[in-house]
């Protein structure tokens, strides 16, 4: 195929691709995003190819390697088409059996399909698994139909058709009006209306303008952008070209964090293909519009995700934020008007143009339209990426999609929005999720990380974790953030180490207010959120850390001790041998004792003590005080 010079050629190309495909042909789809590869998908692909070669099935069976399908916990997996049999948690040795039964025959290897734990029923098709059922996968659905290294797969799904329509049948104003009517809001966190943002930038007069895709997905626990970049890079590129045309930009940048090597690779390849076929470069699709995109790899600084810092980083400088206004739309990259959107926002653009703003605006709530991808992680049964319509309740996500809390434990809180967000307590499970309700609850939508915490998660420790994170990532330019976050961490450390004082909570609140109000950029302005929300909903937990020196979740090292129950210990030597600091004394068949002075509280003893014995336990508060009191003065003799 040569360069596409007209929308009609694009349509013809699509027909050609479809004509070559035989719907009844046996196809094996292997998902191979970063999660998949980490779980062994590359070995699976090798095994599939070898087996097909061995059986002489090379020509009769197609193998398609795709990006992530979202249910990461079932990796490595594969789907056999056209029957859509979904096999999960595979090992290379499972492949011959699958080929024998499902490729050569029309049977199902029932031991390898998904089993619903609730109903004990086997589920054959992927979209019938409860995890997928309640989702509305507008963006992520294509991840299982596309080999991200082959542009043809994207074209076959009407790829670049929205661009062709925009370039030849729509004015800039009409495109922006369409995005505004759809009600698309920025998926990077703040939720600014995308159409309005574009309009501001379009109106600024300048001979040079830029568009940027913010793919510096730094929030720990959020990886939906990675999944889109890896699995469907052309959808993002198409969105950017449409945006650039609407705004009048000639050059674009995709800033990808360096921690995503596979995303970098796939986006680079997609850019090359887009150039080759005339979707980027001079005279795009034969129109008068010229535009190109460069990929910039980040260098490991969380603050680069802030828009003004990101632009500084592209310019080859330290990722320091700067005062706004002027906003990037007025003065952005190299002082020129710049429109910057997040990965997921850009990926929504072709979809809206293809299906229409009215269709899109029907999904979601009054003020938050469309779907949002969340990464459902932490102490949840079904971990993975979930794409849901705005307005769905947390309960539906946690219990219907997520399958409830691991090990039947109790849900304590849901953390949304990463280090800028907050913890929503279990009582608020029926909260419908959109930009505004989350903000009201003290958290934010953020980029979409959703971390589930159970009773074994200590909320003071979580606040400390996030503050420690933002403090380390603070660029140091402005004082409230640089010094304020450090002080907040120090106070939180003090509390988790058991040295908290009564007025510490007051100090935390006052200081949080100062940091929020006085910081220069979003990083500092939102940094205290984890502290403020945990103080708002879990104040008692802070108080028990301070007053009764108790960490009920048994997490904070300074407030716990490990102990061996003499009535239960059988003297098996396991804990003794596994203790990295030789803090356990004892002999075979004699009760073991932990030397509290030497113990570093690593938990190795608890891990290795056989569950049916259960002699090792963690204690806090009064029990811990008693143990330490008994231990002091009579150091264990060796």
């Amino acid at each position: 195929m040569e360069r596409i010079n007209h929308p009609e050629e694009l349509t013809a190309w699509k027909s050609e691709i479809l004509a070559e495909r035989i719907p009844s042909k046996k196809t094996i789809v292997v998902s191979s995003g970063t999660c998949g590869q980490a779980s062994g998908s590359l070995q699976m692909i090798d095994a599939v190819n070898q087996e097909l070669e061995k059986k002489g099935l090379r020509d009769r069976v197609e193998v398609k390697v795709t990006g992530c399908h979202g249910f990461c916990q079932l990796e490595p997996n594969l789907i056999v088409y056209p029957e859509e049999i979904f096999y999960k948690n595979l090992k290379p040795q499972d492949v011959p059996q699958i080929v024998e039964k499902s490729i050569l025959g029309n049977e199902i290897v029932s031991s390898l399909v998904f089993k619903d734990l609730k109903t004990a029923q086997k589920v054959i098709k992927q979209d019938e698994i409860p995890f997928y059922k309640k989702q509305e996968r507008l963006l992520t659905e294509n991840n299982l139909k596309i080999n991200p290294t082959e542009i043809e797969d994207y074209i076959a799904l009407d790829g670049y058709h929205a661009l062709a329509n925009a370039l030849f049948n729509m004015t800039s104003e009409a495109i922006i009006a369409e995005i505004e009517t759809a009600g698309l809001r920025g998926r990077g966190g703040a939720g600014f209306p995308t159409g309005r943002k574009w309009e501001i930038c379009r109106k600024v007069e300048s001979d040079v303008k830029y568009v940027i895709c913010n793919a510096d997905e730094g929030d720990p626990g959020a990886y939906m952008d990675r999944s889109l970049l890896e699995g469907n890079p052309h959808s993002i590129i198409e969105g950017m070209i449409i945006g650039a045309y609407a705004i009048g930009a000639q050059e674009g940048y995709i800033y990808v964090r360096m921690e995503y090597p596979l995303a970098v690779q796939h986006v680079n390849l997609a850019l090359e293909q887009a150039r080759k076929f005339g979707f980027l470069g001079e005279s795009i699709l034969g129109s008068e519009f010229a535009f190109d995109i460069h990929l910039i790899e980040g260098a490991g600084a969380f603050v680069s995700g802030e828009e003004t810092s990101l632009m500084a980083s592209i310019e080859g400088r330290r990722a320091f934020p700067r005062q706004r206004p002027p906003f990037p739309a007025q003065e952005g990259l190299w002082g020129k008007p710049t429109n910057i959107n997040n990965v997921e926002t850009w990926a929504n653009v072709p979809l809206i143009l293809r299906k229409g703003a009215d269709w899109y605006a029907k999904i979601g709530t009054r003020r938050s339209k469309g779907t949002k991808i969340f990464s459902l992680v932490g102490k949840i049964n079904n971990t993975g990426l979930v794409e849901v319509p705005m307005g769905i309740t947390l309960r539906e996500i946690v219990y219907d999609i997520g399958g409830g809390i691991q090990d039947n434990k109790k849900l304590k809180a849901i953390q949304t929005g990463g280090p800028s967000g907050g913890c929503i307590p279990a009582e608020k499970l029926d909260l419908p999720i959109d930009y505004d309700t989350l903000a009201k609850a003290g958290s934010i939508m953020g980029s979409g990380g959703m971390i589930i915490m159970d009773e074994e998660t200590c909320m003071v420790d979580i606040a400390r974790y996030f503050l420690n994170f933002t403090q380390e990532e603070s660029c140091g330019k402005c004082v409230p953030c640089r010094i304020g976050t450090k002080q907040l961490v120090d106070i939180l450390n003090k509390i988790t180490e058991g040295d908290g004082e009564e007025d510490d909570l007051k100090k935390l609140e006052n200081l949080s207010k100062t940091v929020k109000e006085g910081s220069l950029c979003g990083l500092g302005q939102t940094a205290p959120n984890p502290v403020l929300t945990t103080l708002r909903y879990f104040r008692k937990e802070y108080e028990s850390h301070i007053k009764s020196k108790t960490c009920a979740a048994l997490v904070c090292k300074g407030l716990i001790a490990y102990t061996i129950d003499p009535d239960k210990c059988v003297g098996c030597l396991l804990c003794l041998k596994n203790c990295p600091v030789d803090a356990i004394v004892g002999e075979r068949k004699k009760v073991h004792i932990i030397d509290q002075d030497l113990c570093i509280k690593c938990g190795a003893c608890l891990d290795v003590c056989p569950p049916k014995i259960g002699a090792v336990s963690k204690v806090t508060g009064r029990k811990m005080a008693r143990i330490l009191k008994n231990a002091s003065g009579k150091r264990v003799e060796k």
Binding site: C72, G221, M258, E259, G300, E315, G316, R317, V377, I600
Partner: protein, 146 residues
């Protein structure tokens, strides 16, 4: 070094790309490299130093043969990453960011690798280890020739 620099435009926007390339090829950014880049881009060594110390990707000293990276993302955190970090640090006798005296291991952390579903995750030389329970076995696996 000169050959590498020739591939890049003489513009500050190339600085981070150049640093990435040198870090990849040499494992660290040497003082000689800094002055060569300064000449090429016609900016001060000071500026280069400020940029390269700002970002985590670059190091001023040679790193170890094996890079052990413990993911400290939130999902890994609630599943026990801090303990893995402590274990690794104790096993190797070094702190985060340091290299063992025999230059065999460098211990690093990363904020999130985006594989939260399979955490806690530890990456050694680009290879992902999922659901990690103890560090000892991983370190042992890479200790050959030590």
């Amino acid at each position: 070094m000169e050959n590498i620099l020739k591939e890049f435009e003489q513009d500050q926007k190339e600085l981070i790309h150049i640093l990435h390339r040198i870090q990849e090829d040499f494992g660290y950014i040497s003082p000689q490299a800094i002055s060569a880049i300064a000449k090429h881009l016609k900016i001060s060594e000071n500026e280069i130093y400020s940029v390269l110390t700002f970002y985590k990707a670059f190091s001023l000293e040679p790193r170890g043969k094996h890079i052990v990276t413990v993911c400290m993302g939130t999902a890994c955190h609630v599943r026990g990453a801090p303990r893995l970090m402590d274990d690794a640090s104790r096993e190797l006798g070094i702190d985060v960011g340091q290299t063992t005296p025999d230059k065999h291991f460098t211990l690093e952390t990363v904020n999130c690798l985006g594989c939260c579903a399979i955490g806690p995750v530890v990456v050694v030389d680009g290879k992902y280890h999922s659901y990690v329970k103890r560090m000892e076995s991983i370190i042992k696996e890479y200790s050959e020739g030590r």
